[in-house]
Subunit: 339 residues, 4 copies
């Protein structure tokens, strides 16, 4: 039984607490939060857990094997580094760190010490995303044309990251997991509508070597909640809607056909092919349960996590590129391939 | 009764034929199409109409007062110019012309001759778009934050224009009508997935002087049809969905609130306000009926059409800017304010 | 070319006019309507057509081969009878007649004279309904459990028939076509909310010999339009939604499983099986085009129409049974099997 | 702080455990379940709670003030009676009891002892249902025409109650709360499709003195989950959809208009009025939290609960009437007004 301490008992930390408390191979041993009230709630719910305002105490506690960090992004680096240095395995809420240099350091530190460093890119542990990866990697969609995601809703504003770091981080982690091609450059445009606040709406265009294009719309100021990704391929197309209660992934047997042209005026040379739609049955297991299992499996076996340090660092690099592009009127910013 | 001749009896021409045939102040007098079969269908349906393969005959016919042109974009200029020169009033399918110089010439020609030149930007004659204009101009939405449109579906590919000229032309005409601010620059990225064909997917970002941002996603390769515009304002937000059978415009009493900050860690300074949603009853009159009425009204009174030559030219300028941006890796292309 | 005269140029008659005018093997030759304005509209649209206020003139016209009747239900019998007696083939708007005795007489008259008598049960000519019939008859759904239809919207009130004769007539014709079993008895409850008007809301329960149950909800007073049928079977289940733009028929690989019981307390013996959903591509040809083709085919070949007199009479018998049940507090009314 | 013991730690019991554990005025003190595994899970999650396999021990425990019963319906009576006799306040999962005599006895017992007896008709503690009640009681809908509910989904089969007792119990409790009129009689038709199992699909018609009609469709064998109630009134109409994420209650300014008739043939006398739709902002507080608060409030003040014994008994009487009607081919069964 891996004894885990959770740092940060806010919205996401609460979910971590529950999943570690109820998980099979991990056990919840300690919790920490600077806000006394939150810590009290956690303590009331899990009376057997050690509660400490100070994260350092938790990190240094020899009775703790691993640490899960669900604090503001700006604190990820320091907390994760101290935990690794204290010999703990680390699960960090996404994104891994606020800067790629920090992320790189964490990856190296974990590597050197032989510790598991994992980022909680939750969606990669849903059956929907796994199915989409299989469809693409198995060639079911044919040649990829585009990957278009809309992830918008009202709030919550965060004061230490903008909407790109908050929402697009999800899309970038999914995209890199399901698409075999690598993003070469990122263009982004973002705006803030509250003076002094980070960007609340942004559009990202992702450039590839071939004729694949990626595009993300993230927005904290939308009156409705939309979570929809459309993926176009030469053989089939997919609509992935997280908010659909049961038919989250729809596979359309649709595409284009190129016919022999004719001489006749106004004639269209290209048509479309419209076929059936299939919505496979999707398991509804909570994704975070899969995160916890993967974390435990990697600690026990030394395996590399699906969303380990390098994958988390890659997302940070992409987020940084988006930020630089936003500061440069949307100019494409290249992203190096290596970590 | 204004006697109208329709040039081009394809998909849209068929709708024009019907609306002129049944309109009150206009009458359908002649039809022309290079494709014999189409002309035969039109002739069978409207036996009293003069049918001619040659558009020139129709244009020169002294029994014709006005001409409606629903042919490929590349032919708009020549046909419209000849019609104006023959003293006919002209209604052109959108966009006005394939180049802004051509459009400018048409505007000047119509001006000089005192003829009505109108572009069939159909959506501006729907109750939905008129309502949205009133909401924005009346201050109901407050300060505008963003205008985001998704207009995607499968096909139809067109061989003489790309998806921007086909689909974004709708959005640009709507946007310029409902938003008081002027677009200053356009950034666009587009791709083609059929060698030798025009772009089939594109993203346009529209830049303004203030913190308003516009964004359009147009796509001929989507497995599902989406026609949805989200407009964010400081007081209210609108979702406009053309495909909704009855609730096409939804007004959300939602927005952000900026509260006094506190010293407490992790505290959010900005919240959101969630209120009621109102979907006003929308009239379902066919928009093209309004186009035909407006055309007749302007011919009879000499009034300037809601979608006259200058408005049509403005859309062409924006489309050209998008094209230039696509050729320049998405660099913002400025759009001059004047015609 | 079969020369057809259309009696009644209202909402549905207008669609008949258009389909006969544009059909391949039928031609529109004459039109009749008591309302002068409607007739004028028809005449303007189809100038070559003979227009007569008096239906009798149309019926007696030797230049007419067949008559399509789209008048109020109460006039179907007399008009259809006169047309058959004048040697014309007859297509009647649904339902066939206002009483089963009238319907029976029409069936006999057409039989005796060797004329085609067909009822315009339009939905049987959609690809959706044909697909559902194939699924059920081919055993794809397994044993049928239930057939549940909701067909509700606002208006239009009709003064000569109630909501059952107006809307449930559609469902009953579909149901009898797609389900092999025969309805044995009908229970119905209906209410009127406008004094002196026919029922505006009704619920019909359809009883079978086996454990299949049918149920229809029809309603002229609903704020939203719903057209949805759910069909449950032991192997698969179908949701048929006419208003879905493309995925009108969804086939769910879902059902129940009966497991070996255990002794443990509270244990559930029966579970459910949740599998994929498939929405086959559905053709979108206008159903009325199929009606017109079928009418022409039967006239030309002497074949029995899919929705001939006997099928139309069966629907009238079911509607009558519903009426008797409504008058008897919902008591089940048996429906004889024979015509 | 009221010390509560929860009997039954299954699906719903788990929710009760959580709400009592986290509630303000109640505290979770004990839990009981015949299934050892469930009890272990509860014990692990709430280590401070007394766990007992035997409900009797919990009921007799003097450290317990109140008991919440979430066991199969057939056991409600005995457990609740013993708890009342032991001087405990009682919250029973719906329905109150398996028979009205049992329910009546419980109501009398609680009355005699001055104890709070409450039924967990959860939906009455949602903001949606409260809003609908206010709209109807405030006259916003005008004269009520109909109340139509569809509550269908796949599973879960229950072995001790049929689909009416499981699902229609929700609708009947809501209906009696929001509609001022009293149900006079119930007609019902139900079928089972698994030999030896309770009915899995049923239709209930609810008769009133005036021209209001109620109708419920409940179904455990539907491939899709639907939770939708349509309420028609002379002034406005409501669509209530529990599954809508934010717009759960939509108020349509629609209805019928009765115009002066004319002499013209085929003229419709009755039209419809189509106006705006308003979806008020609905609070999303968990309903069960409101149940727990109401239970505590009534225990502390002696107030009668919104869903007390008499209200629960009324629902049982209606369910019994439905059962008798199902056994009598759908014949209407009168329901006495008094408890």
């Amino acid at each position: 039984m891996i004894r885990v301490g959770v740092i940060g008992c806010g919205y996401w930390g609460t979910n971590l607490l529950r999943n570690f408390a109820e998980g099979a191979s991990c056990g919840l041993a300690a919790a920490s939060d600077l806000v006394a009230e939150r810590l009290a709630v956690a303590k009331r719910r899990y009376p057997g857990v050690k509660a400490a305002a100070d994260a350092a105490a938790l990190i240094e506690d020899p009775a703790i094997d691993a640490v899960a960090i669900a604090t503001p992004v700006s604190t990820h680096y320091e907390l994760a580094l101290r935990a690794l240095q204290a010999g703990k395995h680390v699960l960090v809420e996404k994104p891994l760190a606020a800067k790629s240099e920090e992320g790189k350091h964490l990856v190296e530190e974990a590597e050197r010490r032989g510790l598991t460093l994992m980022v909680d890119h939750t969606f990669l542990y849903t059956d929907s995303v796994r199915l989409i990866r299989e469809l693409i990697h198995g060639g079911e969609l044919g040649e990829l044309y585009y990957y278009d995601s809309v992830r918008i809703n009202l709030g919550l504003f965060q004061h230490d990251v903008n909407v790109v770091w908050d929402l697009a981080a999800h899309d970038l982690s999914i995209l890199e997991y399901v698409v075999p091609q690598r993003i070469r450059a990122v263009s982004a445009t973002g705006l803030t509508h509250v003076p002094g606040s980070p960007e609340d709406i942004a559009y990202l265009t992702l450039h590839y070597d071939d004729s694949l294009i990626g595009h993300l719309h993230v927005n904290w100021l939308a009156p409705v909640k939309i979570r929809r990704t459309v993926i176009g391929g030469s053989r089939r197309m997919v609509v992935y809607d997280e908010l659909e209660p049961s038919e989250k992934v729809k596979i359309y047997d649709r595409g284009i056909t190129v016919e022999e042209g004719s001489e006749e005026a106004y004639q269209l040379l290209i048509g479309y092919r419209a076929g059936d739609m299939l919505a496979p049955q999707i398991g509804l297991t909570e994704a975070l349960k899969g995160v916890v299992s993967e974390f435990a499996r990697c600690i026990e076996t030394g395996a590399r996590p699906r969303t380990g340090g390098p994958e988390g660092l890659r997302v940070v690099r992409l987020l940084e590129a988006a930020g630089r592009s936003m500061a440069n009127k949307g100019a494409p910013i290249e992203v190096p391939d290596e970590g």
